[in-house]
């Protein structure tokens, strides 16, 4: 329009990919990858049920926002990332902190992503946490490990993501930035401002919408006029994909398409993952949630446990036998019903290690509270 038109150009978004069965990214995954992905689902689930138990035993303060039934979104979104990519998890994504770029193995001490020790230290409110337990629960992150620090203000880190991406572009880097969000947070003004900005400058920001059909006690139809939150993308002229949030491989496929698209400089992408919140909003809300979400709806929403769906896919891929699939049976069980025997031992040991560290880590000294308001010796 103008000769002074700046860096951006206005073009129509590339159409989202057809589901082309012949070239799905998941088909390039090795057996080892696939088994690793299954193990990560166990790990995310175990983290959740174990924390519920620890809290019941009075070991924890703070609210638990369960990621139960939504683990495929975390694992599928993160598995294919590079270490230099950035991730921005929110309250329901606690496992994302240690599963970041999980391809590089969660039990490898040299990997990127926070260690399970650091994450547990945060949950336990100890000084071994990356933020020295100054902020609560999921509110950690790491500049070194390219994890944007989570915060309470919903959608509030999406502009952080655009800024990270913009700075990376200035540095001539090739990182993509993946933000995880509940569908409820898409109503925030800052969601709009940040996605709009990202789309103007074609920043590699991938916004994952975990549509678990409820925002606290508010159902989808009071949050948005359309059924598919992916359609929010249409207002920005960017691709809006829909993934089956129960199927880790479908999430992976959509994410890999988005990563390729974004890394190629074509701009931001929104991926809506359809899922269902297993429990109440937080553990304080379980009883009330039972009132606003009648049991049949909950049963329906939890019918397709992501662990079971993954196993089925692995059997179909020929990477798992039915007997192997039955070895650890965490799927479909609540914290109260499940035991350590339902999980691979290395999963239990991994978390044991984290908890052991957390318990041993000291509570920060009270005087620390006055520190780091402003740069010290700056």
């Amino acid at each position: 329009m103008s000769p002074n038109s700046g860096t951006a150009t206005a073009v129509k978004a590339e159409a989202p990919p057809e589901t082309d069965q012949s070239r799905r990214p998941q088909d390039a995954l090795t057996k080892e990858d696939c088994l690793e992905i299954l193990k990560q689902l166990y790990l995310a689930r175990y983290f959740d049920v174990r924390l519920i138990k620890e809290k019941k035993r009075g070991h924890l303060r703070g609210t638990l926002y369960s990621s139960h039934n939504q683990e495929a979104i975390l694992v599928g979104s993160l598995y294919g990332l590079q270490p230099n990519d950035w991730v921005s998890p929110i309250h329901r994504d606690m496992p994302a902190f240690f599963l970041k770029d999980a391809k590089f193995k969660w039990d490898d001490r040299e990997r990127m992503g926070l260690s399970i020790e650091e994450v547990c230290a945060q949950v336990w409110g100890k000084s071994g946490s990356p933020g020295r337990a100054r902020d609560n629960w999921s509110h950690i992150g790491s500049r070194a490990k390219h994890i944007i620090h989570s915060t309470s203000m919903l959608a509030g880190t999406i502009p952080t993501a655009t800024g990270v991406a913009y700075a990376d572009r200035l540095n001539r880097g090739d990182a993509v930035v993946v933000t995880l969000n509940g569908e409820g947070s898409t109503a925030q003004g800052i969601f709009h401002e940040a996605i709009n900005f990202a789309s103007i400058h074609k920043l590699p920001v991938i916004t994952v919408i975990e549509n678990n059909q409820w925002a606290y006690g508010t159902p989808n139809e009071l949050e948005y006029a359309l059924e598919d939150f992916a359609r929010r993308a249409d207002g920005y002229g960017i691709p809006g994909l829909i993934a089956d949030g129960q199927d880790v491989f479908d999430v992976y496929d959509k994410m890999m398409w988005a990563v390729d698209y974004s890394r190629a400089g074509k701009g931001p992408v929104i991926i809506e993952c359809k899922t269902f919140r297993a429990y109440g909003h937080g553990d304080h809300d379980d009883d009330r949630a039972a009132k606003y979400r009648p049991k049949p709806e909950v049963d329906e929403g939890r019918k397709r446990d992501p662990i079971a769906v993954c196993k089925q896919a692995l059997i179909e891929k020929g990477f798992l036998t039915p007997q192997e699939a039955n070895q650890w049976m965490a799927e479909g069980k609540n914290a109260a019903e499940v035991s350590n025997d339902d999980f691979p031992p290395e999963v239990v040991q991994y978390l044991d290690r984290g908890i052991e560290f957390a318990v041993a880590s000291p509570v920060p000294e009270p005087e620390e509270a006055a520190r780091w308001v402003f740069k010290e010796n700056g």
């Binding site: 303060r61 703070g62 409110g125 337990a133 100054r134 902020d135 609560n136 629960w137 509110h139 915060t151 309470s152 203000m153 919903l154 409820g184 947070s185 109503a187 925030q188 003004g189 800052i190 925002a215 606290y216 006690g217 508010t218 159902p219 009071l222 949050e223 948005y224 009330r288 606003y292 509570v363 920060p364 000294e365 009270p366 005087e367 620390e368 509270a369 006055a370 308001v373």
Partner: protein, 334 residues
């Protein structure tokens, strides 16, 4: 063993709920809106039952859009409605900040009195509960510095109900700080009148009389002051405790009168010190009651830090019984 049951004591949260229920009942033009206030009945249950009673149109479950919650209230008020807008936590009011300070607060002024805004923005506030940075704020000073807003913070069930009703009927926009740590606090439950009653805005309450020093506070810290007064009594110091209850408008006279008697004052609140309301009270005292003062007026506030999560850190930055007592003792000794 009497045939007449003793009237039930009610907690702070119930008092608020009753205020909303009664005001919705008496005013068909009143609307409630907020996140999760209807189907769920509110994160803390303050609005529980309202949607069933008054319908989905008048008790609106809003999307997670604090700015729109406020802005929509402004529009409803312009079109004749009285609105209660809930912030799920008062911390999130910052997301609706522009609409509050630039639209809601100024509408009456800008229109030279044509359009007033009967809108109460209320929500759970305050620290001491391990809520960390984003679930512990007392950000009342922002609004006290934004002309056109009433700012209220009750400390008892009786006041919670009576002040909320006054705010709703005042016709002025009000930011109403509820202390979530008091919502279900057993020790402060009290019997509430059966009949409709109001607690006037701009009228402080003397919570305890004393002669040696005045402790001025509001919200949760009133109880720290009362406990401090108790402890000071054991040390032979008689402390008067004033609960200002409403910050804008402020009952300055009550404070000055007390100081005319005690000549000494400690002001306590849990907001950050700099430009907080404790400082405002100290400034007004210094300016208007200087001649009564025999010692410097002192504030005990949160340190100028965010509220950290873990308990020892949280307590370190907040006012406490100990800090108040030692400030009071030093002031009396001055």
């Amino acid at each position: 063993m009497s045939a007449v049951a003793a009237p039930a004591k009610k907690n702070y949260l119930t008092a608020l709920r009753e205020a909303l229920d009664e005001e919705m009942g008496r005013n068909p033009d009143m609307v409630c809106e907020g996140e999760d206030i209807g189907i769920l009945g509110g994160a803390f249950g303050v609005t529980e039952g309202l949607q069933a009673k008054y319908g989905k149109e008048r008790v609106i479950d809003m999307p997670i859009s604090e700015a729109c919650i406020v802005g929509n209230a402004v529009g409803m008020a312009l079109n004749g409605k009285t609105v209660m807008a809930e912030m799920q936590f008062i911390d999130f009011i910052s997301c609706g900040f522009d609409q509050i300070v630039n639209m809601l607060a100024t509408y009456y002024y800008r229109t030279a009195g044509e359009v007033n805004m009967p809108v109460v923005v209320r929500g759970p506030a305050g620290a001491y509960g391990g809520g960390a940075l984003y679930h512990s704020q007392m950000n009342e000073a922002w609004f006290c510095n934004s002309p056109g807003l009433q700012v209220v913070c009750p400390s008892t069930p009786y006041d919670a109900k009576g002040l909320l009703k006054s705010a709703i009927r005042s016709g002025n926009p009000t930011i109403f700080f509820e202390i979530k740590e008091l919502y279900r606090k057993r020790e402060i439950e009290e019997v509430l009148p059966n009949e409709d009653y109001l607690v006037p805005l701009g009228k402080a309450a003397i919570r305890r009389e004393g002669t040696d020093i005045t402790l001025v506070s509001y919200g949760q810290n009133v109880y720290h002051c009362l406990a401090a007064a108790q402890e000071l009594q054991g040390m032979g110091i008689s402390a008067e405790v004033i609960d200002i209850r409403s910050l804008v408008p402020l009952d300055e006279q009550a404070i000055y009168e007390s100081i005319s008697k005690t000549s000494r004052v400690v002001v306590v609140n849990e907001a950050p010190m700099t430009c907080g309301f404790a400082g405002e009270i100290v400034a007004r005292i210094s300016q208007n009651a200087f001649k009564y003062l025999d010692a410097p007026p002192v504030r005990i506030t949160r340190l100028d830090t965010p509220v950290p999560w873990v308990k020892p850190l949280e307590l370190y930055v907040l006012p406490s019984l100990e800090k108040i007592v030692s400030a009071a003792v030093a002031t009396v000794k001055y």
